[in-house]
Symmetry: C2
Subunit: 214 residues, 2 copies
DNA sequence: CTCCCATTGTTGACAGCGTCATCATTGTTG
DNA sequence: CAACAATGATGACGCTGTCAACAATGGGAG
């Protein structure tokens, strides 16, 4: 163990890297965050890690495979964030929804480029099975929250997917608009959370029980 | 088909193409639609149009410039579609909103890859001024519609940007989710318009006058 | 009408990229 | 210890975007 640790910290170039796969992913995400997806190059990653230009191919069969792994990691972290957001929150639906929404928007703000990547990978018709599974873990969680609200009588009745759809849409749309700077200037001067309250109130109004709009 | 078209555009290979710029944009959009953004290559475009590999540089200083032009064209068509959607529609806010929303979702469905490009270009901090202007033409139109609804007493009072924000978010979010296949399976079996009705009802409920949700 | 020159297209070069085939080193396991 | 699977290195290939230098075109100025 100590031996392993010492070798990990030693910058001296050993033939075997130790954990090249993880290092590639970490560095790739860093680059993604700092210089955008277009700046991602396998050769540059290899160079940065002091490894030959073809070494990455031992861990990712091609560039897309690395992007997929990056996206999968993102979905896992998103799901974890969503689940963590529900710990230590009160019972009312509004509170729980607020926590979830904040978690999502924060994740989107903190990982804008990664989120982009996650969506574009999912858009790919030949996305891997495991990736889809993890991708839906987060949405399943959201749907479960809607059902919870319905059971408590704080969310209008109806097929849960139908009720969840617009809630989802508003949440995702807000995060996307905010992160990509598509909002009319002046709306977000107070930061993400300001607009979030507005959107949250809107969602609650739209999903609350009561008569349909005229 | 493409062959016929190409021959129609170049009856005989003149030294000067005639309208290479437009031809590049048209072919680029076609490729974007059929094979995605990653398949876009200046050299391939030039090849397809029977022109030398460096000819495009006379019209677009680099690849990004071509993408910008493509995005700008997209925004113009989106704005035109949005404006056209309001012709010959009744007075009630709900009707006008419905027309606008349908137009947007249809555009998104018909131009999914292009829309992606449009948003990613805007995300670029050094997006051109003219591009931003056209990009906001469509959102201005949407904001104007909200104001119209407020004047008619069919939309709740409040700062127009605050009221418009969640409406926008829900609309954009729905289009994005639907187009990128991120919706839980089964929701959209009836096509885009089915989910659209659900979202529309939600938006109307959320933006209607009345007491705030509990 | 002619000549000039800005516009547009061509050719050739360069470095960087992803990918592949082949070879070298390592760590593990029977 | 020896064989073997895993991992890394090297070199090659064709593709890409970009640039510089050169060539054809065509629309005005004289």
């Amino acid at each position: 163990m100590v031996d392993t640790l010492a070798r990990m910290q030693t910058p001296a170039r050993r033939y075997h890297h130790g954990d090249l796969r993880a290092a590639l992913l970490a560095r790739a995400e860093e680059t993604l965050r700092e210089r955008g997806p277009a700046a991602l190059s396998l050769r540059e990653l290899a160079r940065d890690l002091g490894v030959s230009h073809a070494a990455p191919s031992r861990h990712f069969k091609d560039k897309q495979a690395l992007l997929d792994a990056l996206a999968l990691d993102g979905f896992e972290r998103l799901a974890a964030t969503a689940e963590a957001s529900q710990k230590g929150v009160g019972d009312p639906f509004a509170e729980r929804l607020r926590a979830l929404v904040r978690a999502y928007v924060r994740f989107a703000a903190d990982n804008a480029e990664l989120l982009d990547l996650m969506y574009s990978v999912k858009h790919d018709p030949e996305a891997s099975q495991g990736l889809l599974a993890v991708a839906f873990r987060w949405s399943d969680h959201a749907v479960a929250l809607i059902e919870y609200g319905q059971r408590r009588g704080e969310v209008r009745e109806g097929p849960v997917t139908e009720v969840a759809l617009p809630v989802f849409a508003a949440l995702h749309g807000y995060a996307d608009l905010a992160v990509s700077g598509m909002l009319p200037p002046g709306v977000l001067d107070g930061g993400l959370d300001e607009g979030l309250d507005v959107v949250l109130a809107f969602i609650l109004r739209g999903s609350a029980p009561g008569p349909a709009a005229p």
